[in-house]
Amino acid sequence: MEEKKITSENEEMLNIKNLVVHYETDEALVKAINGIDLVIKHGKAHGLVGETGAGKTTTALSILNLVPDPPGRIVSGEITLDGEKLIAELPLTDEEREKLKAEGKLPPCAPAKTEREFEHIRGDKVAMIFQDPMTALNPVMTVGDQIAESIRLHQGLDRAAAAERAKEMLELVGIPGIRANEYPHQFSGGMKQRVIISMALACNPRLLIADEPTTALDVTIQAQVLDLMRELRDKFDMALLMITHDLGIIAEMCDEVSVMYAGRIVEHGTLEDIFDNTSHPYTQGLFNSIPNIEDRKSDLKPIRGLMPDPANLPAGCAFCPRCDYATERCAVEKPDKVWLSDTHCVECHLYQQGDTAKKL
């Protein structure tokens, strides 16, 4: 039934189903992503919020099949981009499936495209903006060359035409085209991030993945970069996966939000669902950690404790050790997904058994 749903809904730009990614080293098995589902519709902006280490960047890299391997491995799940399978589960008979389930193993998956096909998708259909503009540009290439490289790869323009187009892209993000011949060290941090944005947009991607695009920037520059991104998104009508730990950015930029914790999406919904009808104790904790502008004297209420070591996740709900509402059941049993409305779902025992009325 699920299969049908995916193929029929071709308004989906991206569909991630039950994705599991592990980092396997000699010392430990790090379970970075433990079965997440994520859907982004064409032209929509989806926010992915969570602490450092929650698996946000790994999710983004999985879409491009760029999880560093070794040690990273996409263990299970499916990724579909605009109707085309990128990562697909290997075909299994029902018997084999039952057997795997009985052994507690996950159905194996493999890239459904060759490395060469992925190269054509990267930078063309899906582009990515990285967190740290200081290190994301090659220090020995001019910024113009770095932008033009992607244009030449995907649009088959010759060197001169690509260089010309690179200049246009720079001007689009507010940098004089003449600076195309300069090197990254000649730009400030905010300017570098603009260069990276222009590089990502150079081939009109249908999906832009922005991995904490403003985290490394000054607050004043953050607002500029966000404005620029919003403006360009409207202009190019592309879908956006905005990865951040800043709920303010989500509120400004996104239509839907997924809250990620220890490799799982613990709450998902529209902007209204998450901001006005916050359900998961972790999401509530995130909101409580935001400084209150009206009452500057009020203490911050940080979430106590730290995120569990992804190499050693608790048996039950991963948030259980830090949760103020944890019950005995939380410690032993993983919560299933509970739909609170058509758009809003949460993974928490507090909402199980259809007991949606029980508000925190």
Binding site: E119, I121, R122, N138, V140, M141, E149
Partner: protein, 314 residues
């Protein structure tokens, strides 16, 4: 940039004078009388005194030193105390052998070590990497003269395909240049491997891949240009060692180059020839260092910017 290069060339003058001073001082303080060596045990004291005066050895140290430097700047390397010939004659006939040998060794080291380092880094923790690392460790730890002797045993004695000594044809350069490059080759390989490993994990490589650049281009174009700088540094630093190694190698392979001339001259306490050899070595090493710095600037625009800035100030 040109201004910077010229400035560096001018710096070579004080460096050379410094080298001459140190070597002259060492030769001056070294026990043993060159004249006694020259004239043999039967010489009369009068003859020895006469010869000393004729060679200028009886002058005080600083007079000797200044005379030598002044002569050098008028283009005279002095005359050998031992043969009485102009030093420059023997020196200039020896230079080509050493230059060919060092350039061959350097080229061989670079051509082999950089791809090996890259391959080891790309295939980290796989058999190719282990093989390269093992080779590099052997190369770093094996003494040069021993490698030379082993190569002679293998290729000249057992297989008989390459000459073991002397310089008769291009074949004669093969074994000495391989021997000479061995240490350098191994240390550049190690450097290249570790710098490549670091660069391959850099964010900008991920950016390049996210743009759709193929793995090969990401490695050989985006990463290599950044990762090659430490290797050039190692090559530059070790060039001096390479020149010094020519003493052992030219002796083992009986190549009539500067290294052999130097070791022969030291044995007979022939100060003018020793200093002539040292001046050649000092100038060559300085030039190579200059080339290395120019290469940095050509590869890395950040370093170039520093040079340009420095040039403006002066």
């Amino acid at each position: 940039m040109v201004k910077y290069a010229l400035k560096r060339l001018l710096y070579m003058i004080p460096v050379t004078i410094g080298v001459i001073f140190v070597v002259y001082l060492i030769m001056y303080l070294t026990p043993g009388d060159p004249v006694a060596l020259l004239l043999g045990p039967d010489a009369t004291p009068e003859l020895i005194e006469e010869t000393r005066a004729a060679l200028g050895i009886s002058d005080p140290f600083f007079v000797q030193f200044f005379n030598y430097v002044i002569n050098l700047f008028t283009g005279h390397f002095g005359t050998s105390w031992y043969t009485g010939n102009d030093v420059s004659l023997r020196l200039f006939s020896a230079i080509p052998y050493t230059l060919i040998l060092t350039i061959l060794a350097l080229a061989l080291a670079l051509i082999i070590s950089i791809p090996m380092g890259v391959i080891a880094a790309v295939r980290q923790n796989r058999p190719a990497d282990y093989a390269v690392s093992l080779f590099a460790i052997c190369g770093v730890s094996a003494p040069t003269f021993w490698v030379g002797i082993m190569l002679i045993l293998l290729f000249s004695v057992y297989m008989g395909i390459l000459p073991s000594a002397g310089v008769d044809s291009w074949k004669s350069y093969i074994l000495p240049s391989i021997t000479m490059s061995f240490n350098l080759l191994a240390s550049i390989t190690r450097t290249q491997r570790s710098s490549m490993l670091e660069v391959l994990r850099a964010d900008y490589i991920r950016t390049a891949k996210a743009k759709g650049v193929s793995n090969r281009i990401a490695v050989y174009y985006h990463a290599l240009r950044n990762a090659i700088i430490p290797s050039i540094t190692v090559a530059g630093i070790n060039f001096g060692t390479l020149m010094g190694g020519s003493v052992a190698i030219e002796t083992v392979f009986a190549v009539p180059g500067v290294g052999r001339l130097l070791s022969d001259s030291i044995k007979i306490h022939d100060t003018p020839t020793v200093i002539g050899c040292m001046v050649f070595t000092a100038i060559t090493v300085s030039i190579v260092n200059l080339i290395v710095d120019m290469l940095y600037a050509a590869i890395d625009p950040r370093i170039k910017a520093q040079y340009l800035k420095g040039g403006k100030k002066s």
